[in-house]
Symmetry: C2
Subunit: 660 residues, 2 copies
Amino acid sequence: MSSSKTVRKLQVVSPVPADIDIANSVEPFHISEIAKELNLSPNHYDLYGKYKAKVLLPVLDELEGAEDGYYVVVGGITPTPLGEGKSTTTVGLCQALGAFLDKKSFTHLIDGAAMSEIFLDNSVDLTTVVTCVRQPSQGPTFGIKGGAAGGGYSQVIPMDEFNLHLTGDIHAITAANNLLAAAIDTRIFHESTQSDKALFNRLCPPNKEGKRSFCDVMFRHLKNLGISKTRPEDLTPQEVKKFARLDIDPNSITWRRVMDINDRFLRKITIGQGPEEKGMVRETGFDISVASEIMAVLALTTSLTDMRERLGRMVIGNSKAGDPITADDLGVGGALTVLMKDAINPTLMQTLEGTPVLVHAGPFANIAHGNSSIVADKIALKLVGPGGFVVTEAGFGADIGTEKFMNIKCRYSGLRPQCAVIVATIRALKMHGGGPEVVAGKPLDHSYVTENVALVEAGCVNLARHISNTKAYGVNVVVAVNMFSTDDETELNAVRNAALAAGAYDAVICTHHAHGGKGAVDLGIAVQKACENVTQQLRFLYPLDISIKEKIEAIARSYGASGVEYSEQAEKQIEMYSRQGFSNQPICMAKTQYSFSHDASKKGAPSGFILPIRDVRASIGAGFIYPLVGTMSTMPGLPTRPCFYDIDLDTSTGNVVGLS
Amino acid sequence: MSSSKTVRKLQVVSPVPADIDIANSVEPFHISEIAKELNLSPNHYDLYGKYKAKVLLPVLDELEGAEDGYYVVVGGITPTPLGEGKSTTTVGLCQALGAFLDKKSFTHLIDGAAMSEIFLDNSVDLTTVVTCVRQPSQGPTFGIKGGAAGGGYSQVIPMDEFNLHLTGDIHAITAANNLLAAAIDTRIFHESTQSDKALFNRLCPPNKEGKRSFCDVMFRHLKNLGISKTRPEDLTPQEVKKFARLDIDPNSITWRRVMDINDRFLRKITIGQGPEEKGMVRETGFDISVASEIMAVLALTTSLTDMRERLGRMVIGNSKAGDPITADDLGVGGALTVLMKDAINPTLMQTLEGTPVLVHAGPFANIAHGNSSIVADKIALKLVGPGGFVVTEAGFGADIGTEKFMNIKCRYSGLRPQCAVIVATIRALKMHGGGPEVVAGKPLDHSYVTENVALVEAGCVNLARHISNTKAYGVNVVVAVNMFSTDDETELNAVRNAALAAGAYDAVICTHHAHGGKGAVDLGIAVQKACENVTQQLRFLYPLDISIKEKIEAIARSYGASGVEYSEQAEKQIEMYSRQGFSNQPICMAKTQYSFSHDASKKGAPSGFILPIRDVRASIGAGFIYPLVGTMSTMPGLPTRPCFYDIDLDTSTGNVVGLS
């Protein structure tokens, strides 16, 4: 299925230069070359410039019946605020699998001579691998965090295009989300100033022959109301009222506006203060765009038809009588689908070593499930074919990210992973073993940069629980220790031993940040063996047909909790969603990633605590209920000196500078 | 320079089908074929799918020294609220020039036989023509107005891509505009909670060696402050304060947030009501994205370097001491440029008959200048070459649109038009002659659809004033009467006679809506002759070096006003901008398009009125002062039954349905 043509040999420099400098030092392949390696012909994709292409959904129909490759998910231990290199490991692993492993002979080719041969001799059949990652939000790129394309010699390139507009998917989500928001407030406004009859006449105006009719989307609304009549003139006055007056309860509206900017001053606002809005003010707010339910829909949808249905059934709040109001009730489900019709196609890019990447969707890992799209994974699995690999990343620690990957994403996709990688660092393990607090922007304590095996060993309880939780899904678990230059051999061995003792299939040390794919060859081999030797079936943590509370409690137990405590508000919401018929959805916990528990300061593997559920919300279009464990910020802010100070365009070359 | 290869012969149907049905009935040429006709090679553009490409700015450098083609601007008489077909005429004229006129022999080829020959015989050398139009806002597409791709058999295709995301330029503007907005409020917040020293330490933190430094954008801020020191440690405490504390007066902030959605509830809002914002609430609001100053910058910029400068010097308000605060003072000018780096490349599309179109920028014709970009026009003029045509549209009536085209756009570009088209309809002329009010959505009065030469003749005073105003710029004026099926021969002749009497170079009847380019062949010939026979130099209505008030008064006289009246607020602003050194900017009047005067009900050619200036604002980055004549809405709303009710995706074909 593949040849060696697009492999790029990296000239590695030490110490590792800045990410943008590495990214800019490489001339990417034209994306049509990457596509060709995947056996995609030009009618399978749309180019977006020279280094990005959208792979078109009909590819899936064409490949129906073809066999899938291996499916690998990369999660992590409970991280420090600095991040433990999950994206970097995902990319590095793929560079190793795709640029260093010989598919046929199952040997690896890591010395320069062998690599040179690859360029001369097409008989070496490299393994086909696709990396599936989320599109990062543009907000943090200009704020504190910087970009999200991996790092060092394991990156997705062009790094600036990856971190900025990409192919416009997040912009499409912003537009769709806010069109729905505008539709809600304007509808309330028009209903407040018009009689039932006037509303009805405006919604179903007579044509030139004086005949009224329902348009397509109105039949969806009628169905939700339980009205099966097809002609406007047949509706009773009571039905006219039900049809024309949604009677939205302003206090029940859960739909907020979004923006892909860190704009903290929009977290809570009052709208409708213009004189023409006649005093219909309302408190609401903006979230960052990736927190939109539409992003979660994009990540979980499986086809255009499925997306149309999901967008139409998104619930924005209730009527005053307590019935859910959907996007289709507002007449806007079709328009939202039109705005999202190109966004459903994943974007093809490449790693530094020329292996293919599908970038698609970026649901917030807080209040959504934090995994890239089902559509991209499905396409990728067909494209790599048997013996090939699709590696995808799950956001946050494995307690949230991998759990949601399994119980939400795989449940909806029907796909079955063979292997789960858990990324660990000595730094984070030391923190879990009792090391001092790690704070972004402050120098690390001495204990983190000098040998301290005791701290590491103590911290392995965190890793061990992630391993046993992940193993319970029926996959083989491979631990990847993302090595830093300050790490000590005995520390690394301690982790390896602890991982194997906790049931990991293998545990390997990686240096892909410093060396690219070459630094993750051992990981690649371990992952390949893990995939080839999977013995169990996928098992979910909970079935869908138990109550909302039972599902929450099953997840809480996996955190180590001995019980769950619901606020009055949470009880009320659970009761309402159950009454509205939404109790059969999977659960998407909104919890801190900095601890197994709800309390970020509880490191290691806490147990015996009571998990408090503050509130419960629903993303009915995306298809999950999300309990809030504590308060989740859905709109980041800017610091005094945001990243944007350093970002500029070199107008002589057109290159971006200062992006980190 | 061109061959006949990409000409498409239309099969015209009567009565004219719906716009989307005509658009969908044609399979567009791959955009690379259109590009090839313009002698563009693949490295000159980036594909965005199959039917759109961004023409890259370096093309301009490559073509430097090449001769320009003819430059034609299309304006209109004072319109009815229904619009008089200015875009449709722009497209139809180009279809006529590009698909029907033989460049060499100056004959037109309108019968079927001749057209068939074109397909067989490449010896016919068709004239090269490029249409330059604005990108429409997505808001109205889902609101009342519907799309803006022209209409009938004179359209830009694919019509759905034109009306929706296109290549993301408006989304880039939204992102850049709102990043600046977030930077403003967050800066005020951080200044309110930190000492001068703390602010300075955060802005210029020490590196690992303990050394502080200014980043590039800070030197721009220092320059604005008149500080020429280059090392942070050399600043006096007074200079540290000046540097670190912008001291923005919240009441002076003119920078608003934007969204490309008709969301009336965002017109006036209160932000900062979250508990973490500590009570720093402020009243502000959202405009529609095309009203952003960044859109005006995009339209008026001439290069990447120029755009960087303009974005950096945009003024967002004043310090409490009354000094202007710019985007660069906030450190964000470079990041804005990075967000806009792809948007500066115009998007190549095609007309129904396969002639090339450059879509670029869409500045609001209310508070900005309402003309497509300088960059697109410049590229197009080089690409068509001598004897070729670039036809561009100016928004609103010629009193605003053509006036701003000449005095703002041409002044900044240095380009010189040879011909100005003025589009008129019998309907609008009857209104100016005293016909009853024309209201969108209500049936037209009888007098508009039956012969009434007297009304038409009376209404020609409006046309006559537009002709004489436009002629004064030194261009030849061609009147295009956009014919409706209800128009009468004697009415049409009356307009022709009146136009010639008022000094028009020619006046012709067009049926391009019903017949495509074939229906505008006479207009094409008239425009060609007008371009070839221009005898005068371009003259501006006012020089830049007179006072703001003198410039406003010169424009007011062109409206027929006998004087200008300034509100107290307007006087204050004029005084401030003059003091800040901004009085040498051109003037961009924000006035209703429905009358020469400020009063939309005054039809025909009113005179002797006093023009009231309510307020005066400035777009310093774009480069104009804009006086507000009355109240301009910068955020449209949605009606009870918005267009979105009919818009959906046919998920079996992927086609958009219901777009109008």
